[in-house]
Amino acid sequence: MSPSGAEFIRQIKSQIDEVDPAEVHEVLGNGAVIVDVRETEEVAQGKLPGAIHVPRGHLESRIEGAAPDRSQRVILYCASGNRSALAARTLREDLGYEHVESMTGGYTLWKDRGYEIEVPRQWSPEQRQRYSRHFLLPEIGEEGQQKLLDAKVLLLGAGGLGSPTALYLAAAGVGTLGLVDDDVVDVSNLQRQVIHTTDRVGVPKVDSAEEQIKALNPDVEVVKYQTRLDASNILEIIEGYDVIVDGVDNFPTRYLLNDATVRLKIPVVSASILGFDGQLSVFAPYEGPCYRCLYPVPPPAELAPSCGANGVLGVLPGTMGLLQATEVVKLVVGAGEPLIGRLLLYEALSATFTELKVRRDPDCPICSRDPEEISDEEMGVFPDYEAFCAAAG
């Protein structure tokens, strides 16, 4: 005769490993993956801090996103310890996880013991639909989307690179987008700066971009800086941002930005474009090289033309800007391998990508030192700075 449901669960529990909430409390945040297998409505009321939500109905298809390494310790819980026991057996017997436990008493006992909980963001029905394709990705999911909505990303320039980056980061639900640009929309911008429109020619770019961002996603707060970044305002503007997207059009500002971001330890997703060619890298202070490690001195002015003087394929800033936006999302949600210590070159005419290694320079004038040693006076300065700027006009 087949066993009753209750008898079946008792049998399963005798076959798996269980762990008391007291022990889970001790290992919280210490490497074990904590997985909440309850339904979405239950998790909305609260969950263990740092627990990853994988509903039992999606366990087999989504567990690898939460716990890619089958030898790592995985602790499952549900409301009372029954569903997590069944899930634990599945992970061990069917999917080959080596170190799986089910928490006795589940979330109910955890809460009764007075341990801390976190209440996840409450998604509106509209947000559930808007971000549904992110929720389906194990690498992003509800947790990653929450990180995106909490993220503050600063875009330097609402021009060629900034236009596609701003649009896609807004669509992705980055909660705060700062925009630094002192320019107004010109009809010659519209060949590539897709955030602006013909009827907004003459409007400040930060206002034009804000209008488009708000129309796309009302979740996004836009912070506008209608100014040029310089030594007097840079620290004030960039402080508090999680990631900076660099699309500035001149070397002095790139060096200034590098030095200020190293000082404040803010990662920069950097791209530059010219003609049919683009470059991309991520400069994460003290984790990888900085801009000065790659380019210790700028080229002379005749070898440093701007897009205005030399032209640029209209699609190219779209390609490079969206690669930047991708790196921003990866940094915010903590997914994948960011482009740190690597430089990606894109040649549109030949349709080729080339990847080069970028090393930290042990003698770098900026990032070889502690951030507090970098003074206001030396920020943005490089050898022959005055001659360079005079030549560049």
Binding site: G160, P299, L303, S306, T354, L356
Partner: protein, 92 residues
């Protein structure tokens, strides 16, 4: 014969060529062979002392030659040299 990838800003000096084939046993010899073929690249690559200009990065395949043996780094037949000056354009 190594392949040298020419960046956009140097292409006016190579008659628009994006890749140049040049002979040489090490990085210095290959770049000098490039400068023989296209003389106006010389002052853009080398300083007065014959060293690489600091604003030009040269990669042997994917590695910066400065972390290898600089201009003395040996170059094989099927190797690629990438010349890379900094770019600052943002599409403004």
């Amino acid at each position: 014969m190594a392949t040298i990838k020419i960046p956009p800003v140097l292409r006016p000096s190579t008659g628009g060529e994006k890749e140049v084939i040049a002979a040489g046993d090490d990085v210095g010899a290959v770049l000098n062979a490039l400068a023989e073929q296209h003389p106006s690249t010389r002052s853009q690559l080398f300083g007065e002392g014959g060293d690489l200009n600091r604003y030009v990065n040269v990669y042997l395949n994917d590695e910066d030659v400065r972390v290898l043996q600089g201009l003395d780094t040996p170059v094989g037949e099927s190797d690629t040299l990438v010349i890379l000056p900094a770019m600052a354009g943002g599409g403004r």
